[in-house]
Structures are given as C-alpha cells and as structure tokens.
C-alpha cells in the first residue's frame, strides 16, 4: 500500500498548516457514517502506536492506518483527494467547505508476484 495526494488535496494541506501549524498527521478511518475518510489532526492530539502502520507522507504529513485495516486494504494504494463538503468530524478540514476523500487504486502487495 502506498499513499499519495492530488494537487487540490496538497493545497488544502498547505492551508491547514497555515492555520494549525505544520505538525499534523493523517489517520485513515473505517466503519460507518464518515468511515473511510482520511482524518487530519494536530500530531500531538492523536495517539498512534504499535497498532498503526505508517503508510507514507503526503505534503510532508505522516499518514497512518490501523494495522488490521491495513491488512484488509493491502491490495490498494490510497490517493487522497479534496472535494467540496462539510463533514469530517473532528478532522481539521471540517468546516472549511472542503474535505479530504480517499480514492483507491489496485496495487500488488509486497512479496506477491504477477503470473
């Protein structure tokens, strides 16, 4: 699994850095309602640990997903996009009129081979 961001998502990340500082992180959500949304928080506010996997960085911000969800999603690369919207719960994009959205592409997991 790899993570990347679209230009509009990178733009929103830069805007959030201006308001909230550069020390941010992403955590990929799962479940219902706003599930599947990538959530962005001040790094010191969200506790990540051994049960999380660091997928990569977008716009200089680390992007995490829980280990169990990583296992279930391992056949996909994540592309973080930005769309119009108001939700996102406590994520820093909430209320900006824009929100992050996870899009996905199929990938080949490490160690697997195409035959």
């Amino acid at each position: 699994m790899k993570v990347s961001a679209t230009p509009t998502a990178l733009e929103l990340i830069e805007d959030l850095k201006k308001t909230h500082g550069k020390d941010l992180l992403f955590h990929q959500s799962g479940g219902c309602c706003d599930g599947s949304a990538p959530m962005c928080y001040p790094a010191k506010e969200y506790l990540v640990g051994d049960q999380d996997v660091l997928v990569g960085e977008i716009g200089g911000i680390p992007f995490y997903i829980s280990k169990t969800q990583h296992e279930a999603w391992k056949n996909t690369d994540l592309i973080i996009d930005c769309i119009k919207g108001m939700g996102g719960m406590f994520s820093l994009d909430n209320g900006t009129g824009r929100r992050f959205l996870t899009r996905s592409e199929i990938c080949v997991p490490e160690g697997a081979s195409l035959n």
């Binding site: 955590h27 990929q28 959500s29 799962g30 479940g31 219902c32 309602c33 706003d34 599930g35 599947s36 949304a37 959530m39 928080y41 506010e45 969200y46 506790l47 829980s66 169990t68 969800q69 279930a72 999603w73 056949n75 996909t76 769309i83 119009k84 919207g85 108001m86 939700g87 996102g88 719960m89 406590f90 994520s91 820093l92 909430n94 209320g95 929100r99 959205l101 996870t102 899009r103 996905s104 592409e105 199929i106």
Partner: protein, 582 residues
C-alpha cells in the same frame, strides 16, 4: 410489527402482485391515512400555539438558494413542496441553539446553510456553534440536573409518555422534516423512523416504572442495598443517517435514568431535531435537554473533550471513536461507541425448497440493502448465497432490486431517496469505481442515478449489486450506500468463515427453514445482533451494539440504562456491637 406490515404492503403494491389480500391491506392503509390527516390538523394547531413561546430569530433571505424550478409557498422550489403530505413546510428560515429551554443565538452570531439532499437547495440556516455555546449548554444542563436527577421516576416517566404523545400527534410533520433534512423516503420516515422514535420514548418511560434496585442480606444485621443513580450531565453526538431516531436512542435512556444532556446533531442533518424541540421542549424542565448545532471540530470536539461531562456517547467511525476514547481517558469518564459494520446476510439453499411467501420474504431480506439508501450501520452490505441456489436466487433479487422506485423522497411511492450529502455520494462513487477496478462484476446499477424534474442537483445512487470475493475492499469496508457485495458459499462452515472474516461485528442476517442451522449460525457469527429470517428490525426492546471494532456498549433495551448511571451500594449494619479490631 405494524411498521413491517405497512412496508411490506407498499412494496407489494409496487412489486405488482395484486391479490385480494393485498388490496384489503391497501384499503386499511388508506383508512389509516385518513386518521393521520386528522392528526396533522391537531398537530398544526399545537405547533401554532407553541410557536408563540419560541424566540423568533431573523428569518430573512437565503432559503431557496440554487432554485432549479419555480418556487412554492415557503420560498423553496417545487421539488421540496410538501402540500401533498398535508403539512406546511416544516422549517423556519433560521434556528439558534436550544439551550436552557429556549432558542438562543449562537454567541459568535454565525450561522451555516443547511441544504436538502433532495436537490441541494438551502432549506434553513443553523447556528454555527463553538466552545462558548457548548459551555452555555453545559451550564444549563448542570443547573437542571440539581432537580432532574432527583425527580420521581413516575414524574420522569409521565413526561416521557407526554413527549411520545406529542410526537405521535405530529408524526407527519416530523416525518416530512426528516425527509427534507436527510433525503430518506417519506414512507420510511412515516412507517419506520418516527414510529420507532415514539416507541423508544414509551419503552423507556415504561421500563423505569418496572425497575427495582436490589437488596442482599449479608447477615441478619447487615444489608447491602443497590440503588441506581444517574451519572449527571452527559454529552451525546449523533450521526446523520437517522437524525431523530439516533437522537432518541441517546436521549430517551439518558433522561429516563435521570441525566441531563448536551447533544450535538450532525452538521449534515441538524434541523429536524430543532423542530422536535419546538414541539416537546416545554414538556421538560429547562436545561434537561440542550441541543447545540454546528461543526464537529468547532462544537463536537469541545463537547467530547469537556471535563464537565460525566459520559460521552458517540455514533460514527473508528478513527473518531478512538479520539473520543482518548478524550474520555483524559477525563476518566465512560463511553458508548457505535462505529459501524460490514454485516453479512446469509441465505441457505433450503429457502428455495418452496416457492412460497417465505421465499418472497427472503428476497425482500436481500433487497433490504436499499433501506435508508444503505446509510445504516447494519446495512446488509455483504450477501452470502449458497452456491446450489445462487443463479436462481440471484435472478429473483436482481429483478426485485430493479423494481426499487427511485424518485423524489417526498413522494409516497418512492422506495429509495437521496444520499445524505454530496460528500457521501462522492465516497460511494469512489467505492463503485474501486469495485470495478477490483474485478467485481456489476449485476445491476453501478453508477450515480441521474434524475430530472428538479432533482438534477440531488444526491442519487443506483441500487447496486456487485459479485465478487470477500477479500475485496468492497466486501471489507462499509460503503454506506445502496451497494451490496455478493459471494457464494459451499456449506455452513464456509458461510460462517466468510461471515466472520471482517473487522466488524454489528449486525448479521441468517435465512433458512432449518432451525438448527439458524441457531448454530446465530451463535457462531460474531456480531451484536443476528436477525434470523428477518432484517432491519429495531424495536426498543432489542439491544443494539457491536462486537470487534464495531464499538463498545449497547444502545436501546433497558440494559442501556446502566450505560447512563452508576450503582450506589448502601451497605448498612443494624448491629449495636463493635467488630472488636480496635
């Protein structure tokens, strides 16, 4: 049961099987409609009477923005016309917060536009609250708790019964509000959401009357009395999929247990609960229920992280669930979390032993993934069908899915309405794309639904059936749309293996004529609720909650009361003599 019958009747009507039995049922619906019309008249009277007590905020401009067709009375376009439902347009142009028994302006003076998913037109403006408003609501709640926490159980119960009565009298008006705010079909609002709301208020009003503490006789001079006591002021954050019902799931047990509440509705669906408070507010002492609308980050977070709440209840997704637990850990307070699922719906071969009413019920059970546009935490979004009946059964469910009527949610004939927000529609689209990329076969639907007649800007998705493998993402993540992913299984053991191959465990369905299979599967599936030969049943008397990553705690049922209170143990010695230690 009545709800089910009504739903079944309407489905039958559209599913073309007109026989004398269904004609009789339709007649009875028509009769009921007449009764409902009478109720509306009463409701409108009550509403007008109560309105005089409400602070009227500035009600100018904005409504009807992005109008696509001609306007009707109420300033909205004809797509949002409610006159055929015999109710006025339910919303005022602007709502403040409901704090301390009255509507008040947000302290910042800021509002945000609330749109209807039906056509994304602005229907009213809502307070854009922040930490200061949350504080004011907490002040009011703490003040109210001094009395409410000590109120006689009979008094609390009677108030809750009165609330249920007023809601029942206003059922059509509230159902219309819910339809406009959320985009769900009016027939579901009338036959499911609102009747369940009323049922929950009555259930908790009733159940606390029959409850007792306990006494243990430790010895003939020592007794241990257990007395349940309320927690105090609780924070509650509700989702946008069933705005009034989810608010009621949280409010009714909290109030029944003697707590006061500060509740934040979802920013996508903030309006219907304000209408509910307009109707029932004066039945409660000021401050017992406080509703603060606004965004998650600005209003939800200060509530969830406040050191002035004794408990936080949240329905949503996993990452925010973890953050809420973190805040609760910092304040050392209890939580209840409901975080969704990826519920399996399992169909065994014996369902096709006969072509009878039960098989018809099983077909409906499959198509239940369309209920509430699939925006249900327990959406049966993974269907497991035994391979021996796969082709024949799928033929039936595809035909039934194609017969689902998608149109303006305000029409009584509409079976599937609009997704609750544009971003939700975008998310579903991203999963429709992903399913195709993963190699899943589209058996029907698979795209956005383009509707016309003023609905061009609304959020509509075609009912979609994917065929694939349980390892695919579309089988592993809740899409929260009218999308089911179906796969085959060989035998019972295989079915159980697939059913449990998920991170979640909220709901499940098992369909079989064999009671032993039903029992074994019911016990084997790791989920909080396993519906057997039924689905999407949510009576107040059935507990709801998740195994695994689906959450912590239960909602509904009297067991919910203990999530909203502490146990006071009064340990009393009636002996005159000392122990003799000192």
């Amino acid at each position: 049961m009545a709800i089910k019958k009504k739903m079944a009747n309407k489905k039958k009507k559209v599913a073309r099987k007109s026989n004398t039995k269904s004609k009789k049922k339709i007649k009875s619906i028509k009769k009921k409609k007449k009764v409902v019309t009478k109720k509306i008249k009463v409701a409108t009277k009550i509403k007008t009477k109560k309105r005089s007590k409400i602070i009227h905020l500035d009600t100018t401009k904005k409504r009807g923005k992005k109008m696509s067709t001609e306007t009707v009375k109420g300033g909205v376009s004809s797509s949002l016309d409610t006159s055929h439902l015999k109710v006025p347009f339910p919303f005022k142009a602007k709502y403040g917060n409901y704090i301390g028994g009255k509507f008040v302006e947000p302290k910042s003076g800021k509002y945000f536009d609330n749109v209807s998913p039906i056509n994304n037109e602005v229907i009213c403006q809502m307070a854009r609250s922040d930490a200061k408003d949350v504080d004011a609501a907490l002040d009011a709640a703490h003040e109210a708790f001094k009395e409410w926490g000590k109120t006689d159980i009979t008094t609390r119960s009677n108030i809750m019964n009165k609330i249920a009565d007023v809601l029942e009298k206003n059922l059509n008006l509230l159902a219309t509000a819910e339809c406009l705010d959320n985009g769900k079909p009016i027939r579901e609002c009338m036959a499911a959401d609102l009747p369940l709301v009323i049922d929950h208020w009555r259930y908790f009003a009733g159940v606390i009357r029959a409850e007792e503490g306990s006494v243990a006789e430790i010895s003939n001079s020592q007794y241990s009395y257990n007395i349940p006591e309320p927690l105090g002021v609780v924070g509650q954050i509700v989702p946008w999929n069933f705005p009034l019902l989810m608010a009621t799931w949280k409010l009714a047990p909290a109030l029944a247990a003697g707590n006061c509440s500060v509740l934040k509705p979802a920013e996508q669906t903030p309006a219907s609960i304000m209408l509910m408070m307009e109707l029932i507010g004066d039945l409660l002492p000021p401050g017992v229920v406080n509703i603060v609308s606004g965004f998650g980050l600005e209003a939800g977070k200060p509530l969830a992280s406040s050191d002035r709440i004794a408990k936080i209840a949240f329905t949503g997704e996993t990452t925010t669930g973890r953050l809420i637990m973190q805040y609760a850990a910092q304040n050392l307070i209890p939580i209840t979390l409901e975080l969704g699922g990826k519920s399996p719906n399992v169909f065994f071969e014996d369902i096709m032993d006969k072509d009878d009413a039960f098989l018809d019920k099983c077909v409906e059970g499959f198509v239940m993934f369309n209920l509430n546009q699939g925006e249900v935490c327990t959406c049966p979004s993974r269907a497991l069908v035994q391979e021996s009946i796969y082709d024949k059964f799928m033929e039936k469910v595809i035909a039934r899915t194609k017969a689902v009527v998608q149109d303006n949610p305000l029409k009584m004939e509409t079976m599937i309405g609009a997704q609750a927000s544009v971003e939700q529609m975008e998310k579903i689209k991203s999963y429709l794309d992903l399913g195709k990329k993963e190699g899943a076969k589209v058996l029907c639907g698979g795209d956005v639904a383009k509707l016309n007649s003023g609905l061009e800007n609304g959020n509509y998705i075609q009912p979609t059936i994917f065929e694939g493998d349980n390892s695919m993402r579309i089988f592993q993540e809740e899409i929260f749309g009218p999308v089911v992913s179906v796969t085959k299984f060989k035998d019972e053991a295989h079915a159980l293996e697939i059913a449990n191959d998920t991170l979640y465990g909220l709901g499940a369905g098992v369909w079989t004529r064999n009671g032993n299979i039903a029992y074994r599967m019911g016990r084997g599936i790791q989920a909080g609720i396993v519906w057997t030969n039924c689905y999407h049943a949510y009576p107040a008397h059935s507990p709801f909650g998740g195994y695994k990553q689906s959450g912590v705690g239960r909602e509904t049922h009297k067991m919910m009361l203990n999530h909203y209170r502490q146990n006071k143990n009064l340990h009393v010695s009636y002996a005159e003599n000392k122990l003799g230690f000192f």
